[in-house]
Amino acid sequence: MTPEAAAASNQVVMGASFWIATALFLLAYGLIVSEKIHKTIVAIFGAALMIVLGIVTQEDAFHSIDLGVDWNVIFLLVSMMIIINIMKPTGVFEYIAIKSAKAAKGKPFMIMVIFSVVTAVLSAFLDNVTTVLLIAPVTLLICQALELDVVPFLITEALASNIGGTATLIGDPPNIMIASRAHLDFMAFIYNLSPVIVVALIAYVITLKFIFGRRLTVKDELRQRVMAMDEREAIKDPRLLKKSLVVLAITITGFVLHGMLHLEPATIALFGAGLLLLVSGNKEPHRILAEAEWATLFFFVGLFIIIGGVVKVGLIRWMSVEVLKITQGNLLGTSMIVMWFSAFASAFIDNIPYVATMNPLIIDMAKQLWPNLSGLQLLHHPDLMPVWWSLALGACLGGNGTAIGASANVIIVGMAEKMGKPISFKKFMLYGMPLMIESVLICTVYVWLRYYVLKI
């Protein structure tokens, strides 16, 4: 829908297609939340129905960013997955983790802090699930060596990965989705989100000190087991590692400069993945490609088309009108509601479908507030920017609230259960919820102070 047409049609027509699309949308979200059927299957079939029932055309679904698949998100994710899958066998991640444990001198609380910070930093550049899958096995090994209960370590890493992932454009899927729809570049995320995430991470570590600082002790002879580990043995393929690090450096430089280069982040990531595939001399690319998480990628594809359907029939428009009625166009209030509502929504439902719905809703709200603006003038309206940042902060950090709030949590809980150390929903929430509220409170003060008081 063009902005002019949108402005002209403030009234939503609730015809048959409106109700069909709304029912499909609610049914799909209900099934995703219930986990009765795998979410990827729900998304793919729901998307197919949206097209078959004529709610959106195939042209809309495949080629319109407003009504269909956002290929920026898909190509960015798949390219980063390829880069990591090539790097994994080099042993670099084992190296980093063992090195961290030794840097902590085998002292349990220091290990917890350093692992949390390393997880947060890695998560800012890699997908959170990938990061915890890399760091958790080493954590299990180290805790076994120190004869410590691994559960607090695993939970603190999951929480740290969600905090760290919030810091950059590529750190967490909600940010990737917001960046693509709002045309925000990598450096915009660094300027606006990284500072508050650094503060939130420091607060997080201080809180850990209060919770675990005195509780964790370990005998000296057990520490020797950790200190005796030689991290250099982890490096299996030094040549590939050097190539990977060079390509990774080029890719991250590309992200930093992509706004200036007028290239989309997906282009930068695709370039990095292509370059690394080329220089790694990989003879069997199908293996690397098969290891990409296709279930996640197709979940996105399906979801975009389902959302496209409810955007087209006007459900999102109707929702944005209702939201504006509540907020009365007060944008400070809107930011705060968006942040806290997103946080609690993301604590209980997947933040990916949530953000996929919120993006068009916020754009629609902006169209009603400033009907004469369009394009970047509309998306980057100074009064709208804090709303985008509030959405990103709330949706990413909210994942920490419960064991099902973020995919990193789900992975950690699953891994702990497999190790015979189940983490109950309640136990995770006992740590996660207060720490989530702490970080969202910090963000609330930050957004209010920076965008509404200091206005910088």
């Binding site: 066998p89 890399l134 299996k236």
Partner: protein, 156 residues
Amino acid sequence: MVPIQDYLKPEATLREAVNLLRVARKGKERQGVKGLPVLDRDGKVVGMLAMRDILKAVYPSYMSMMHLGDFAWDGMVESLAKQVGNDRVEAHMSRDVVTVRQDKPLMECVDHIVTHNVARLVVLDKTDKVVGMLYERDLFFSIVKAMLDENNRGGK
């Protein structure tokens, strides 16, 4: 085929199971076996517990998720062995057991061992009751016999 008198129960502890593996009767002597079938109360095969499963029982899954073999320490296996001693057999047995009927031709046994990449088959009678085990080496000796004995016409 080796007839078996010893078998495991799914609810037995790993400690009991390894002891039985160690002293199980093979032929005339109680010299131990490399694997035994796990039978439920009705005598149905529900799994197989072999030496490799005991190795896997002390091998933490996180070790295989990343390349962590270089970072183990002395005493790790021993301490994990103590921890898993009270686990139940059913938690560590392999559930995909390959079985063969007593009256089947030898080639079917060879086929099962090669295609399923296992070292032993559970031999059942017509009523699905376990009557014995067929080990890789039993087949090897049948083949050896056929190769070396020119008058041999094949068969069991």
